[in-house]
Structures are given as C-alpha cells and as structure tokens.
C-alpha cells in the first residue's frame, strides 16, 4: 500500500514538472501556430539565470525561483522576437518557425556551453529537507513543494487566460487567428504575451527540475521531448488534455520504473502514446476533424 502511494506521489511530481512544459508547448502551438522546439534551450537558459542569481545576487530560495521564472520569460520573449515575429506572416511558416527554434536551441546551447562549461550545476533545495508523515506515508518537502508550486503556476496561468483582457486575446487567437486579427487583436503583441507566459512556465519547471537533478547546457532536451510527447498525447492546443496526459504518463513512468525497471520507461510511454494516437489521432482532448492551419 505504501509503495503504491509512493509511486502515485512520484508520478504526480514528475507529471507536474513535465506538465508545465507540455502546457507551454500546447499553448504556443494553438495560439501562435509555432512548434517551439527551443523550450530545451529556454529551460537551460532559465536554469542558468537562477543559478547566476543564487550565486551572485541573493541566495534566498524564493528569490532564486523568481529569477528563474524571469529568465524563462526573457528566453521566451527572445525566441518570439527572433523567430515568431519575423517569420509569422511568411509562406511555410510552420516548418520555418520550427527550424528557426531549432537553430536558436543549437546556437543557445553552444553559447551556454562556452560560458558555463559542460560541468553540471546544482541549484539549492528550495523547499528545505523537511518531511511530513500522513497515514504512514512520508512526504518530503521537496515533492510537496514541486507539486504545489506547479499547480499554483498552472492555476495562475489558467485564471489569467480566463479572466483578463490579454487572456481573452490569446483565447481568441487559439480559436481563429485570422478572425482575431480582423477584430483588432495584434498577432505580434499577443505572440509576445504568449511566449512570455510559456517562458515563465518553462522557467519554473527548469528551477524545479534542476534542484532535484542538475543543470547543464543540454539538460533541457529530455524534459522538452517529454513535454512535447505529453502535449501530443493530450492533444496539441488543449490545456486540459495536457494535464490529463501528464498525469497518465507520470503514473506510467512511476509504475514502469517500479515494476519493469527504468530502462523501459520510454518504451511503455511511447507505446501508450502511439496507442492513444492511433485511437484518437489528435490526442485525448484534441478536436478530431480540424488541425490548426496556421
């Protein structure tokens, strides 16, 4: 019983981190039509931002976390300015945008490698080393912190998108970008908001993951690929689907590593994704008939 609960907690922890990136990928795709594969770079960029802040400015965990989020916002806006805004109205935008984000991740990764070296960096534990026992299950402060902070982030983003003027603009862009631009919603301006918000989410996931594992110039690649897979399974463009998929894949990861071994995690995961996609080609919550035509 303890084992099962432990697994579930682990699953939710992993899911909440990757879920943030998945939601970011999903929102970017549905609002901007941009397949952003530079989240790996934004992830590392935000991680290094947090690391620099911790090292040279002020070591308070909350401050470091916010600096990481701020660095994520900077990274996201940078990608928006370099790729989305120049290319968004040109022919073959989808493929050109995707390759542009890949180019940024190539250049950015090399620049990070030059400046910080290949050696892994560690961020401090933000949530201390406390433990709580509930019903015979020990919960580390770390896990509770990760789950809570990512849920808080997600709730803030969803509330903001539901209730604010900017959120309304973004949702209008998601529904029909052409009509949105006709009624006066600026594509470029909205692009900057979207990339800032998704950058913030990536930044948070970067600081959360880097304090448990480590930080290196290319450590963002695996989380990005996982995030993309989750977004794909949930249905590109659907926040709800991404959350459901994140939970399913989180459980899958925890269960597989418990019963089959860590090596088989990706295999079961992709088997699951392929099965879901064969049944529902646009993901769990994706709309069946219509793909977004950018």
């Amino acid at each position: 019983m303890n084992d099962i609960i432990f697994i579930i907690i682990n699953g939710i922890t992993v899911a909440s981190i990757y879920g943030l990136i998945a939601v970011a990928v999903s929102i970017t795709w549905s609002a901007l039509g941009l397949l952003n594969l530079s989240y790996g770079f934004i992830f590392s960029f935000a991680g290094y931002g947090a690391w620099l802040a911790e090292r040279y400015l002020y070591g308070e965990p909350i401050f470091v976390m916010f600096m990481g989020i701020a660095a994520g916002i900077v990274g996201g806006v940078m990608v928006c300015l370099l790729v989305f805004i120049p290319v968004h109205d040109k022919p073959n935008f989808t493929i050109r945008g995707m390759i542009g984000t890949l180019a940024i991740s190539l250049i950015g990764g090399q620049i990070l490698l030059q400046n910080f070296g290949p050696k892994a960096k560690l961020l401090p534990e933000f949530f201390g080393y406390g433990k709580i026992k509930i019903l015979d299950v020990t919960l580390t402060a770390d896990k509770i912190g990760i789950i809570c902070s990512s849920i808080v982030m997600l709730v803030i983003v969803v509330r903001w998108m539901k209730s604010s003027r900017r959120g309304l603009e973004i949702r209008a862009m998601m529904m029909n970008p052409h009509a949105a631009s006709i009624v006066g919603i600026g594509v470029r301006k909205t692009g900057i908001y979207v990339m800032a918000v998704t950058g913030a989410m990536t930044g948070l996931s970067a600081v959360l993951l880097s304090q448990t594992y480590y930080l290196s110039p290319f450590s963002g690649l695996t989380p990005m690929i996982k995030g993309v897979s989750i977004a794909l399974m949930g249905g590109l463009g659907s926040v709800r689907g991404a959350v459901i998929a994140a939970i399913i894949l989180g459980f899958n990861e925890a269960l597989t590593s418990k019963f089959l071994g860590g090596r088989y995690v990706l295999m079961t995961q992709f088997l699951l994704i392929i099965i879901v996609l064969i049944i529902r080609p646009r993901g769990i919550a994706g709309i069946l008939d219509k793909a977004r035509e950018a």
């Binding site: 493929i95 180019a103 190539l106 250049i107 793909a291």
Partner: protein, 552 residues
C-alpha cells in the same frame, strides 16, 4: 504642307483664289500651325522612368537551324534525349535558337565529375582531411536523399531517419561481432532491419498527419537513444559499439584506406541519387505529386491511392536507410550513440533545410555545406555550430525554400516588381475603364475611343476666335487648314445626336435639330431659336458642336 509649316505670319491664303473664289475667303487670319502628330507622340512616350528588368541579354544561346531541332543525341537504345532541348525563335531578333529547358543535368554532371576526380586534384596538404570529409559527405548525403524522399516525395514529416540508420548500424554491428558476419552481409541485414523499423514507424503515419507525426518520431528517436545507451548488449559505457567486420583493410597504406573510404562513400551517393531518381520521378513520385498536402481529397476522388503510395515510398526509403546503416557499420566498424542524439537530428534538418526541403540538389548541397563547416573547419571549435545555427536562421528568415529556392523566389519577386512598375506607368489611355474594355465584344471600339480622345485633345487646341470668326463669315466653301480639320471631325461624327438644320420656311425660318440615330425615330428639336438665313443656322450649329467638343 511644308510651305504652311514655314509660314510665320498668321494668315491663311486661299489657294483656290487664283481662279477666283466666288464669294469665298481670299485671306483670313488663322492660328499658328500645330502638328497633329505631336499628340500621338506625346501619348506614346513613357513619362515614368523604366529600369532594366528582364531576361539576361548576355546569356549565350546556341544557334539552330529551324529544320534540325529534332536532330539530337539520344540515350541508346531509348528515345530519351540527353538534354531537354527546345528550338525557339527569339522574340526580338527572330533568330532561331536552341535552348536547354533544364540545365540541371549539366550542373549535376560537372559536380559529380569534380567529386570523382577530386582525389587527384586536391592539394596535398589538405588531401587527407578533405577526403575523409568526402566519405562522410557521401554517407550523410545518401541518408538525406532518402530523408528527402520521405519528407518531400511522400510528404511524411518524419524525424526518425537517423534512428533507423542508427538501429540498423547497431544491430548489424552486434550481429557481426557475435555471429562473425562478413562485411558484405551487413548492408543486406541492414535492409531487413530497416524494413522492420519502417513498418513499425509507418503504422502511426497512416493515422497522424503533419507535425503530429513529426513530434512523435522525435520521441521515437529519443526512445531508440535511451534503449541503446542503457542496454548492456550494446556496450553502454564505451560511447558506442565497435568491432564489426569492415571492407577497409588495416594493412593497406593510410592513403589507400582513405581513397577506398572516399570512393565507397561516393558510390553510395551515386546509388542514392539513382534511387531518388527512380522513386521521385517515376510512377510513385508522379502519384504523390498529384496528392500534395491539403489536396488529398482531390487525389482520392481522382482515383489515386496516395496512402498506399506514401507508405510504399516510406518503406522503400526505410530499406535504403537500413542499407546505409549496415554500410555505416561496415565503414566505421560500428557506430556511436551520437547518431541518435537530438543534435544529430538538428544537424540533419540543417542539411536539408539549407539546400531546400524536397529537392535532391538541395539535400546534397546542404549536406556539403554542413559537412564542410562541421568536419573541415574543425579548428573553429564550438563556433562551427554557432555558424551553422546562424546559417539556419538566415535561411529561414529570408528564404522561402532554402538555397535552391532562391531562383523561384527571385523570379516571383521580379515579376511582382515588374507588375508594380507596369501599373505605375499605366495611363488612362482610352475612355474605357478596364472592366468595360474586357466586356466589350468589339475590341476595335477600345482603340477607336483611344484615338478619338487623342484627336479631340488636339482639336481643342485649334479652337480660337479666328476660326470661329472665319466660319461666321463663310460657313461653306474652302476654309483655312485649322478650321477644315475641325469641320472634318464634326462631319464625321456618329449619327446619333448629330445636329442638323431644319428648314421651317425657306429663306426665312431655320431651326437646329438633333438626329436620333435610329431608323424610324424622328429627330428632336434642340432649341427654339429661329435663324433667319441658312448661313446663320450653319454657324449656330457649328457653335453648338464647338461647345460640345470643349466640354467633353
């Protein structure tokens, strides 16, 4: 007329007066002569500066005799010609010319010829590194050609190409080590591995489309990487699996080894080019060209089984990729884990996007550029990747479809500029609006109106007090040149609304009427004014026409 032209005093002398002009004018004041051709010249000239946009005037065109157009070299024993040649007549000079409709075979021939003789002409100092890079170029170019078949011809956005190559290389290396397979078996086994992987990867492609599939294959790539790096059988710690049998004998001289490597890579490239040609330009490729993205429904309605064709192309290229994987294993004695990394996928995408996605020449040229930056300019260190990234950024920011799309992009741009320039120097020449002009059945009418406008513009300049005075004094008989031109124009006018003089009472009452222009419909009275003599009536009519001319 020339004597009139030279006349400076503004007087017209009646040439008929010598014989006695009974009641006619002998001499009347007249306006200065104006050349009626001038308005035609003014209208014809461009007032807008034109820039030299157009075809290359300096491009060499081989001459031709009109009858000998068909007399061409052919690939024996087919009827195929060696170059697609067309005999045309030059539009300006009307000389018969022979033009090559497609010059790409010439460029391909010389590029491949250069690659074939490169080992003998390269400078000695760089020979070794360049030839090693050349071998790598051959392998990567073949992989990218197969990838182009998948992305361009089949339209399946797969990113798992290097995963197939890598899996094939790893499995064949493992088999070669454990079962002692000879090197020539490896590509054969690789083909089977490639086919199996192709079938597994092709299954989701039937349901998913576009980027959904791309993202999935990106994940599959990662899956292969994790599977290979974590499994014990594939040598988890050593960074790769090595020890396969190879066709390069270690006892040979180093230069011979390099040459064998280079030429085997070159042969692989030639084979891949042939595969590309025979898939892309034959039946399968033709079928798939009818079913581009978002037009599948049309293709299906036309009876084209495009899904089957897509999967067939995918499987063919998977088999080819498996072959390349086995070849890779035999070439390097194994494979490194790097082949599965995200970095390799980015590099591969850089290679095919720099040249232009979906084109054989683009794939090969892009590979050449990236291999040169990556493998030849090694002393640049990590800056190589920054250069490659900047190159990719430049390409996606400014070019529609890579370097080989520049030609089309430039032509589109030039045509756009031409159209803009043409519309800027367009003048309202005739009286017809463009829509009217297209809807008129009688196109002569367009030109008649244009000419009519010019003539009226000219005649307006002739109207002055002198000729009105002249007409008033003598409405009939010989007139001065200016008045005669005006009167000719008036007389030639159309019958509807043409003014006529009506005699109410001879020598007493005259009125001005206008004809209806329609048979059987009576003329209408235009004014109630009564003229006492016929000459007065003529002059009144003339004044009306002049008024109409000046107001039109």
């Amino acid at each position: 007329m020339s004597d009139i032209k030279q006349k400076k005093n503004k007087t017209w002398k009646n040439p008929l007066a010598v014989w006695g002009s009974k009641g006619g004018n002998h001499e009347v004041p007249t306006p200065e002569y104006k050349n009626p051709h001038q308005i035609w010249r003014d209208t014809k000239t461009f007032k807008v500066p034109t820039s030299k946009i157009g075809r290359f005037h300096y491009e060499y065109k081989s001459t031709n005799h009109g009858e000998k157009i068909w007399n061409r070299l052919r690939w024996w024993p087919t009827r195929r010609t060696i170059l697609w040649t067309q005999g045309v007549y030059n539009r300006k000079s009307l000389k018969p010319e022979k033009i090559r409709k497609d010059k790409r075979p010439i460029f391909w021939f010389f590029s491949l010829l250069f690659l074939a003789i490169a080992p003998f002409i390269l400078p000695d100092g760089y020979k070794n590194s360049l030839l090693t890079a050349g071998g790598i170029f051959g392998i990567y170019a073949s992989i990218n050609l197969c990838w182009t078949l998948v992305i361009g011809t089949a339209g399946i956005f797969s990113l798992a190409t290097y995963a197939i190559v890598g899996m094939s290389a790893f499995l064949t290396t493992w088999l070669s080590i454990n079962l002692g397979l000879p090197w020539w078996m490896l590509p054969m086994i690789g083909m089977i591995v490639g086919l199996c992987f192709g079938i597994i990867i092709a299954l989701p492609a039937l349901r998913l489309d576009g980027f959904y599939y791309g993202l999935l294959t990106l994940g599959l790539n990662e899956l292969c990487r994790v599977f290979i790096t974590t499994s014990k059988a594939f040598g988890a710690a050593s960074g790769g699996l090595y020890g396969a049998d190879t066709f390069i004998n270690e006892n040979w001289e180093p230069m011979t080894q390099t040459l064998v490597q280079y030429y085997s890579g070159f042969a692989l490239l030639i084979a891949a080019l042939f595969l590309f040609r025979f898939v892309d330009a034959k039946r399968l490729g033709r079928i798939l060209k009818l079913a581009p993205e978002k037009k599948e429904a049309f293709a299906e309605a036309s009876g084209v089984d495009y899904k089957r064709a897509r999967v067939t192309v995918f499987l063919i290229s998977s088999i080819a990729l498996g072959f390349i994987g086995g070849f890779y294993a035999a070439y390097y004695r194994g494979s490194a884990f790097d082949i599965f990394s995200f970095h390799t996928v980015i590099m591969g995408l850089a290679m095919i996007t720099i040249g232009g996605i979906g084109r054989a020449d683009g794939a090969v040229a892009g590979t050449l550029i990236i291999v040169i930056i990556d493998r030849v300019l090694v002393e640049l260190g990590p800056y190589r990747y920054i250069i490659i990234g900047l190159l990719m950024m430049f390409i996606i920011l400014f070019l529609k479809n890579g370097l080989f799309g520049i030609r089309k992009q430039f032509r589109d741009w030039r045509d756009k500029k031409k159209g803009e320039a043409r519309s800027s120097r367009l003048e309202r020449g005739g009286e017809m609006l463009p829509e009217q002009a297209t809807e008129t059945d009688n196109k002569d009418e367009i030109y008649r109106k244009r000419y009519d406008k010019m003539q009226r513009e000219f005649l307006k300049t002739l109207i002055c007090d002198e000729i009105i005075e002249e007409h008033k004094s003598k409405p009939l008989g010989q007139h001065s040149e200016a008045l005669e031109r005006v009167l000719y124009y008036f007389r030639r006018g159309a019958m509807n609304d043409k003014y006529v003089v009506k005699c109410e009472e001879p020598f007493k009452k005259y009125k001005i009427m206008a004809l209806s222009g329609v048979r059987g419909r009576s003329p209408r009275l235009v004014e109630d004014k009564i003229y006492n003599t016929v000459d007065e009536a003529y002059h009144g009519l003339f004044l009306r026409r002049v008024q109409d001319l000046m107001e039109a």
